[in-house]
Each structure stands twice: as structure tokens, then as C-alpha cells.
């Protein structure tokens, strides 16, 4: 299916795609986080909700297979998570993007002033970080290390700091 959407997803899988700076985090480290972020010993409910690593190149395929084998040896069980090539990727509809941040209008509006085009809003690292903090991922200590880099006004810095847990 060339253009899946939420109501007609066909044989596509809901997928998190991460653009990352390899100078700051490696693919192997992302794999470590991935194994901690789902139940790899459980069978997937459906093609839509598949446990899978979709590799982009041969280097990623090898790293994914090695990582999967290492986890299997460590826990003494076979993992159900698939390792498969990424064949295509379709960005979800706009209303799915940065969903949690969009529930906080004042914060969202500060970022929309930087990025009036939704595509740029979605691609912004600052927006991604704010979405994560708004979703409860991150602590006050983490936020304090980067809050000055997010482009927020003094008022919104205060709002965000109050939202984030110790």
C-alpha cells in the first residue's frame, strides 16, 4: 500500500523513526534502549503493532542481529522481535505528531512562532524534547541541563519546570 493512513493502514506497522547524531549516541546504544522499551519475548498482536527493528543498511542489520543474539543469550530465551529491512516509511497524519505537546497550547504556540510550517515544527529537535518532557519523560535535573537551549520565554520555562517531575 503506497499511502497508508490511520484508518487504512494495510500491512504497515506503527513505527518510531529516530533521527540521531551518531556523534552523541550510537546505534548500539539505541538498540539497548529499544530492548528495554518493549516486550521482546511476547508475540506481536498484529502487523500494525509489530515488535521489530527495521534496519536501514547492512551495518544496522548486523548490529541488530548481534544485539538480539546477545540479549537472547543473556536472558536464556528466544526473542520474537523481528529484524527486517525498512522498505518504506510514511509519516503519520499531522494530528499524531508531537501529540502530547499539542495538548499544552501555550508551549506549543511558542514553538509554532519559530516554526509556522508544520513540517518544520515536526522536524525540530527542540519540539521533540518539549514533547518528551510534556509526556513525563525526563526529570528536573535533565531539563535544567538543556532548558536554555529550547528557545523558551521566561514564562514558559517556568511552566515547563513545574510540569516536570523531580
Amino acid at each position: 500500500m503506497p499511502a497508508p493512513n490511520y484508518s487504512n493502514i494495510g500491512d504497515h506497522t506503527e513505527t518510531v523513526q529516530v533521527d540521531y547524531d551518531p556523534g552523541r549516541i550510537t546505534y548500539a546504544q539505541l538498540l539497548d534502549i529499544f530492548w528495554e522499551s518493549h516486550r521482546p519475548t511476547g508475540r506481536s498482536w498484529s502487523r500494525q503493532y509489530l515488535n521489530a527493528i527495521f534496519y536501514h543498511n547492512e551495518q544496522q542489520r548486523r548490529a541488530a542481529m548481534a544485539s538480539k543474539t546477545a540479549v537472547e543469550r543473556k536472558i536464556g530465551r528466544t526473542l520474537e522481535t523481528e529484524v527486517a529491512p525498512l522498505r518504506s516509511f510514511t509519516l503519520a497524519e499531522d494530528y499524531h505528531q508531537k501529540y502530547v505537546l499539542k495538548q499544552h497550547n501555550a508551549l506549543k504556540n511558542e514553538m509554532s512562532r519559530f516554526y509556522p510550517r508544520h513540517q518544520d515544527f515536526v522536524n525540530s529537535t527542540a519540539v521533540a524534547r518539549l514533547n518528551a518532557f510534556a509526556g513525563g519523560y525526563g526529570t528536573k535535573a535533565m531539563l535544567s541541563r538543556e532548558i536554555e537551549s529550547l528557545g523558551l520565554s521566561a514564562e514558559m520555562k517556568k511552566v515547563l519546570t513545574e510540569m516536570v517531575r523531580e
Partner: protein, 31 residues
């Protein structure tokens, strides 16, 4: 991912300004 915004807007958050162009991409299905 397009980093076109880096040159299209007069002011953007420092964390976006500092993002290098050589990003890599990873894809995961989380069930």
C-alpha cells in the same frame, strides 16, 4: 528529516541551530 529550517528562519532554538547535518536514522516497531 529536513534541516531546511536551519537556514529558512531568522531565529530558531539553540538546540536546533546546533544540530549537525550528518544525522542518521533508525526505525523501531514497539508493539
Amino acid at each position: 528529516m529536513s534541516l531546511a529550517y536551519k537556514t529558512e528562519y531568522p531565529a530558531i532554538p539553540p538546540i536546533d541551530e546546533a544540530m549537525p547535518d550528518n544525522l542518521e536514522t533508525a526505525s523501531f516497531g514497539l508493539g
